[in-house]
Amino acid sequence: MGIKVQQPGMLTTVQDAGRQGWRRYGVGQAGALDAFSYAVGNLLVGNPAGAAGLEMTLSGATLAFEAAARIAITGAEIDAATGDMQLPGWRPIDLPAGSVVKFGPCRRGVRAYLCVSGGLIVPRVLGSASTDLRGGFGGMRGRMLAAGDVLPIGEGFAAQIAEPQVPGWWIDAAPDIDFHRSTVIRVLPGADLCAGQSALFDSSWRIAPASNRQAVRLEGPALSAADQGERISEPVAPGTIQLPPDGQPIVLLADAQTVGGYPRIGHAISADLPRLAQLRPGESVHFVACDPEQARTLQREQRARLARIGYAIAQRMR
């Protein structure tokens, strides 16, 4: 029993928490870019962490559920409806067999996550169900979803219901995901950041339209590196902020290449990558310097919030 894709949306891919351990072969992490929202989605439907779900970008899919299913919609604020009923986010929703859910545009944020009780069943490749678009493997055959795809679902929700069930409670994802506040991203200053580059922290940056799963591209004052030339390639990681010759910083995300030769002026902290991934083209962002201890504390605190959310959900669902 599965989910039939009637219409795939702009860029919908199967993702989980990503793969680790293969960067020496040029294989990056992939996985849900807003790992926080994806994790809450799995908690809401009672899945183990790491169960595969869908990441929908900017405009979502139309999906037909062959069997009854428990789903959750997290991440971006996305239009979602089954029949006449609007489906809200951040709570478990039970759907009867045969439900068709139509996802529309993301009103706020960029990436919406659909988690389904039982998880999406796709072959695990290099330890993960995530889609590696550059490599053409993982997820749904290494590509974005297409009309006609069928996504098998694991054993999960089995209740017989006649109508969609939508609870009156939801999970508040603030401060980790909060579309009502302007976005500040904490950054560890990089070795190549020099005195003339305080503009990284002093300026407001706009998200460029060319941003994608590989990187957020920024528009703003042209920064110059102390040593402008390209260096030999060194390993990079999601969050690395590169400065190419045009002086417009690039923040690498989970689908970025594993090595790079541009100067690196900083590194966005791991706790802020989910928020970064929800910035829409045209939106503004500020960067604030942070030290490594603070960065790790913020990561720990985020993990603790996730654990508390899991506990709160478990209490509700008893």
Binding site: Y25, G26, V27, E234, A237, T258, I269, P292, R296, Q299
Partner: protein
């Protein structure tokens, strides 16, 4: 560990060891020796070890730390001590990959497989036969694998063959294309856009995510190119296990 070795942060859960800032065979050998030692002694909360030309990154998995409050900073400190220990053994170990026999990669040079071979010969002042001879005579080392899954950057190319990338990259480079970009040679594992000069094609697969390990070549491994004709190319391409 020499005076020029640097350990710096790579994000909040990574470290980068820099042994140099040039593409140099000796430094690259040391990089792969270091990576081998690190792989042999890595704590289970190390998520990845990534060698490059003259540097190695190690990434920590915070979820794998058994975590009371200060554990992750302790992990970073422990990781740094582990790196320094491995560095201090620098001169002693020959890396794993170097002790493997050289991987032989069959290549069919020129024709439809090497559309840039002629112009490269002209621009380097060599005959086509000389280009093929020089390219296939060398023993290369995989300097790093990156930019795409399984894409090997090979060190040791005869400098007479060096030529900058194409001014206008191709939108489609066929899978298996053997190419020259600057002072290096490499192989495109999968069809993709690309700006390197295509001199031939290999029928064997460089990367298959369902193979163990997924890449045919390992960082630091020795590589030789073996010229083959079109018929042999076809036979090799169809052979099971070629991965094509």
């Amino acid at each position: 560990m020499t005076a020029s070795t640097v350990i710096e942060a790579l994000g909040d859960f990574g470290l980068l060891v820099r042994l140099g800032d040039t593409i140099d065979l000796d430094i690259n050998r040391r990089v792969h020796g270091l990576a081998t030692r690190l792989e042999a002694t890595a704590p289970e909360w190390i998520a990845d070890i990534v060698p490059a030309y003259a540097s190695v990154a190690v990434l920590i998995d915070p979820d794998a730390l058994d975590s009371p409050v200060s554990q992750d900073s302790a992990a970073l400190e422990q990781a740094e001590r582990w790196l320094r220990e491995a560095l201090s053994a620098d001169a002693l170990t020959e890396d794993d990959a170097a002790s493997l026999s050289a991987c032989e990669i069959p290549v069919c040079y020129g024709g439809e497989f090497g559309p840039d071979l002629q112009s490269l010969a002209e621009q380097t002042g060599l005959s086509i036969d000389q280009v093929i001879a020089k390219h296939s005579a060398a023993e290369y080392r995989v300097g790093l694998i990156g930019f795409a899954p399984g894409f090997p950057y090979l060190l040791g190319m005869d400098p007479a063959l060096a030529l900058p990338r194409l001014a206008t990259p191709r939108t489609r480079v066929p899978a298996g294309s053997v190419a020259i970009g600057g002072a290096q040679t490499g192989i495109y594992p999968r069809e993709s856009p690309g700006g390197w000069r295509l001199i031939g094609r290999t029928p064997v697969s460089l990367f298959d995510a369902n193979r163990q390990p997924p890449a045919r070549l390992r960082p630091g491994q020795r590589v030789r190119f073996v010229p083959v004709g079109e018929e042999a190319f076809e036979q090799l391409r169809r052979r099971p296990g070629s991965g094509a």
